[in-house]
């Protein structure tokens, strides 16, 4: 028994080797990659994308040092709670369900979601009737997943992926008939893809609010109100001095 006890203490000690006091000068931001063009890696491993550039600009504005922590989408909110990082900036849509868990900044970007399919598709609109029996791709645990599961889960075959990358690969492989994505991500990974032709099916979708919320926000722990306020002010400054538009132009061709 004693041995068992000392052993569990030992395993705790192993876990605690990575425990440390928080360093206040540095702000760690959790991000899930790849989600082109919002956040992704160059082949040599460098992080880049709209969120990354905007986040770095805000940190520069606030005169603090920021470090990006890569975390899979599945565990991104628990990771914030566990103080693995102090904020999330990872194309996270602000909605009520998440508000129960975290504190959001002001929205810094508001993209619609859209359906994407190969150009050869016979689909002209996404409805319960037209999607009957189709294979739909979504990223697991995203608002798109929730929307598609609730609206079309009974008629279509919903395939859930850990990363947007996996989904695009299966789309190219023709395993999926149609995917539902944040529009900028679909634009960058599918519409501008060299490999095959894709098109948007139907309209951009931003309703109902219950799923689509109020745009992308940074997420903080509920008690870190000051930190959220600092980022809000930095964002305000960047919007006014034009930096925000510069960064936006880098990743999205305005339409």
């Amino acid at each position: 028994m004693k041995k068992l006890l000392s052993l569990s203490l030992l395993s705790l000690a192993v876990a605690a080797t990575s425990a440390q006091a928080r360093d206040d000068d540095q702000i760690r931001i959790g991000v899930d990659v790849p989600y082109e063009p919002m956040e992704f890696r160059t082949p040599d491993g460098e992080l880049t994308g709209f969120d990354i550039d905007l986040g770095n600009a805000m940190c520069a504005e606030m005169k603090v040092e920021c470090e990006w922590v890569v975390q899979g989408w599945d565990g991104i909110i628990p990771g914030l709670m566990a103080r693995k990082y102090d904020a999330i900036m990872s194309s996270m849509t602000i909605n009520d369900k998440r508000r129960e868990q975290v504190l959001f900044s002001e929205p810094y970007f508001t993209p619609p979601s859209a359906w994407f399919a190969p150009s050869s598709t016979e689909l002209t609109e996404a409805t319960e009737g037209s999607l009957d029996g189709m294979s739909i791709g979504v990223q697991r645990g995203t608002l798109q997943d929730n929307y598609v599961t609730d609206m079309y889960g009974n008629v279509a075959d919903v395939n859930r992926y850990s990363t947007a990358d996996d989904m695009v690969l299966d789309m190219e492989a023709e395993r999926l008939d149609i995917v539902f994505l944040d529009y900028p991500v679909g634009q960058s990974t599918l519409l501008e893809s060299d490999n095959r032709d894709y098109k948007v099916i139907g309209d951009m979708i931003t309703e109902p609010k219950q799923y689509f919320g109020d745009g992308f926000g940074m997420a903080f722990r509920k008690r870190d109100k000051d930190l959220a306020e600092q980022f809000n002010q930095a964002l305000e400054t960047l919007r006014n001095n034009g930096t925000y538009d510069d960064i936006k132009a880098r990743y999205f061709d305005e339409s």
């Binding site: 028994m1 041995k3 068992l4 052993l7 030992l10 395993s11 192993v14 876990a15 605690a16 080797t17 990575s18 425990a19 440390q20 006091a21 928080r22 082949p43 040599d44 491993g45 890569v70 975390q71 899979g72 599945d74 565990g75 628990p78 990771g79 709670m81 566990a82 103080r83 693995k84 850990s162 990358d165 996996d166 690969l169 190219e172 490999n195």
Partner: protein, 234 residues
């Protein structure tokens, strides 16, 4: 000859993660295995029941599910603890159950259960007369353990140990699913980016085979060493 498109160094790094993960979890598994085997043979009813519960539960649930439970759930559990600490005392610490720690602990826990069975069988295989002889010489049971039971047990345990190690090595691949950048995850990333899954997955497969072959050789040598004094291996 083989074009890794710039992913070579990261793959090598990933191989390092795989090996260190495997070695650390093996260490934890051996310790847990010895504890479990001792508990099962101790004659203490509570210890025996606990050890049995541990081995049964672990061996009944898939590795991946245990890993996710520990990695995702462990974080929330620890978070509740540190939040309570913050509210109660104002001390703000964060304990980071990162993928690597979660991987080592889960794989160690899983294989500790298997090692327990291996060690128990091996301890039982030690000739009882030798233990009695040791006691007759006035050795304490501690001394009997280290001088007689342990070395002889190792001879019987080695085949099982080697077997468990081979399975453990392959189990490390699962950490790629919870986000640790081991060899498999980097290869998966690379194959998606370059659209060349064959190249990268083949490289990974070959590295696994290499590690397996090297460890086979090491275990054969160990077996030889622990069998000194025996005419032939059984």
């Amino acid at each position: 000859m083989l074009d890794l498109q710039g992913y070579g160094p990261r793959l090598l790094e990933g191989a390092g993660v795989t090996v260190s993960l495997a070695v650390l979890s093996l260490t934890l598994a051996v310790v847990l295995g010895l504890v479990t085997a001792t508990a099962k043979m101790s004659g203490n009813v509570v210890a025996h029941r606990l050890a049995t519960l541990y081995t049964t539960l672990i061996r009944g649930v898939p590795d991946l599910v245990l890993m996710m439970l520990l990695f995702f759930g462990g974080q929330i559990g620890v978070n509740a603890l540190t939040d309570w600490l913050y509210d109660a005392t104002g001390v703000d610490i964060f304990i980071n159950i990162n993928e690597f720690v979660a991987g080592v602990v889960t794989i160690g826990l899983i294989f500790g259960a298997y090692m327990g069975e291996t060690f128990r069988g091996a301890f039982m295989a030690v000739d009882h007369g030798q233990i009695e002889a040791g006691k007759a010489y006035g050795m304490s049971s501690r001394l009997v353990f280290w001088r007689i039971r342990f070395p002889q047990m190792m001879r019987h345990a080695l085949p099982g140990l080697s077997n468990n190690w081979m399975v453990l090595l392959k189990t490390t691949a699962l950490v790629s699913v919870i986000g640790l950048s081991d060899m498999v995850r980097i290869a998966a990333e690379a194959s998606k980016a370059t659209r060349e899954p064959f190249t990268f997955m083949m490289v990974v497969a070959i590295v696994y085979l290499l590690i397996a072959s090297v460890s086979e050789w090491i275990f054969a040598r160990l077996q030889k060493r622990y069998s000194i004094g025996y005419g032939e291996m059984d």
